[in-house]
């Protein structure tokens, strides 16, 4: 097999732009993985730099450049972007395509994720949040990740895709290996398992469609009225499975961890339980501060950007957390201001690939927190987070978060 998407050796990179940085590695003593990015900014490294780790890639550290990375798909493509570079790599739909082809599946998904559509999910989300929290509310402690933050978005996926609630453990196990395993054999088997489950699900929904997303995706027709290629349908289901789990889980983990150590913030949210608009403004600020995903791009052709030479297939990382604390855009960027008036964060990206699940994600988090505070108004960390429980990478977060009340 000839490899098509490998970056070239970095002999086009000037030595002053070469920095030793591994975004998977969290140094000892760091209990908040987001801090590795802000450490770079504090060190004063160049705002566009290159690291030889993980196959070699650029990093953008300015809000404007990160936004350019999202918007300028002529240079910064979403097609074939994994870091470290892996081939072959599935082309997920719609994220792995640049416009205009991107729109083929974006169009299919968009109506199911509008604010209007998400508002109709509210009751279901509320009911599940209430029930899930009530299972441990009396116990006075929980591991927030296992008992809630990974379960809730996974059960949301089951509901949206019209799958039986009884399959929760099966999907939790699939997701757990997918996100946490580092064993290549186990990972390969896991991908096969996930695709086998999706295959069976879409075949079933093709035979007997219901009012769910899987049925809508499989029944969708392209601009000429033809069914979409089966492989694309699977890759779209795969993206929806993986995009809305670890992101939501770890954002929640960050939010609950902050609330556990910040009584004033708990009081703030409790005081806004009957004021959803103000509650949402405060959530939006926690979305800004807790941007867990780092997004990848691939350079489409040899070119110059801001006077720096880029080569075709160079990889680029856009760390949202850095954009969100750029002092040229945000006043007091490291301060958490739950009433922040102007908040143009890029936690969900910008441009054509803007997170299609952003309204759902925010609603999941908002409803979960409202239900939680009704049942568990006060809570704290059960024990100091041990160092082994943090991880970096494309989504940053925690493997465990022990709370008590």
């Amino acid at each position: 097999m000839t490899l098509q998407w490998q970056p070239s050796p970095p002999d086009h990179v000037p030595t002053e732009l070469m920095i030793d940085f591994d975004f998977f590695k969290i140094p000892k003593g760091i209990t908040d993985p987001i801090q590795i990015w802000h450490g770079l900014v504090r060190q004063g490294v160049p705002p566009i730099f290159y690291t030889p780790h993980n196959g070699g890639h650029w990093v953008f550290l300015k809000y404007d450049d990160i936004v350019e990375g999202y918007r300028n798909y002529g240079i910064f493509s979403t097609h074939q972007t994994p870091i470290p570079p892996i081939e072959p790599f599935p082309v997920v739909q719609p994220q792995g395509m640049d416009p205009p082809e991107h729109n083929v599946f974006r169009r299919v998904l968009a109506p199911m994720f509008t604010p209007l559509a998400v508002r109709r999910m509210t009751e279901g989300l509320q009911h599940r949040a209430e029930t899930m929290i009530s299972h441990f509310a009396e116990k006075s402690r929980c591991d927030f990740i296992d008992d809630y933050a990974s379960k809730f978005p996974t059960s949301t996926f089951l509901e949206l895709f019209g799958l039986a609630e009884e399959r929760l453990q099966e999907f939790l196990d699939l997701a757990h290996i997918f996100f946490r395993s580092t064993d290549p054999t186990e990972r390969a088997q896991n991908l096969n398992d996930i695709y086998a489950v999706l295959e069976e699900m879409f075949r079933e929904k093709e035979r007997s469609p219901g009012p769910d997303m899987a049925s809508t995706i499989v029944a969708a027709r392209d601009a000429n009225g033809n069914p979409h290629p089966w492989e694309d349908i699977l890759n779209c289901g795969f993206l929806l499975f993986v995009a809305g789990l670890d992101t939501v889980t770890n954002t929640m983990a960050y939010v609950w961890r902050y609330l556990a150590i910040t009584p004033g913030a708990r009081a703030h949210f409790r005081s806004k339980l009957d004021d959803p608009a103000a509650f949402l403004i405060a959530i939006e600020e926690l979305m800004r501060i807790n941007a867990v995903s780092n997004i990848f791009r691939r350079v489409t052709h040899d070119c110059e950007y801001k006077g720096i030479r880029f080569r075709k297939n160079d990889r680029v990382i856009l760390p949202n957390t850095v954009a969100n604390r750029d002092r040229s855009v945000f006043d007091n960027p490291h301060t958490i201001d739950l009433d922040r008036k102007v908040n143009n964060h890029v936690t969900f990206g910008v441009g054509p690939h803007r997170c299609i699940g952003s309204h759902l994600a925010k609603r999941e988090i908002m409803i979960s927190l409202q239900e939680w505070l009704r049942q568990i108004p006060e809570f704290e960390l059960d024990e100091e987070q041990d160092e082994g429980s943090v991880f970096g990478g494309s989504v940053m977060g925690f493997t465990s978060l022990k709370l008590r009340w």
Partner: protein, 70 residues
């Protein structure tokens, strides 16, 4: 003179921050989730909220003009 708010739909990506901040003037459509301006000529008492929505649009898709037709 009354104020008017206009949207560039080529730039709007459907973040709905405008709708969250000022539902009196902004909503989003059911197909693409892009902004719909329900009340282009908004009353002065909504000016602050509309300005806030405009400043919070991550795509810079909204603009306020003075009166008349845009």
């Amino acid at each position: 003179m009354s104020m008017r708010v206009v949207a560039n739909l080529n730039v709007c990506q459907g973040h709905a921050r405008c709708e969250d901040l000022c539902p009196e003037v902004f909503s989003t459509d059911a197909v693409e989730g892009k902004v719909v301006i329900e009340q282009p000529e908004f009353p002065p008492e909504l000016e602050e909220k509309v300005r806030l929505a405009v400043r919070n649009c991550p795509e810079g898709a909204l603009r306020i003009t003075k009166g008349g037709k845009a």
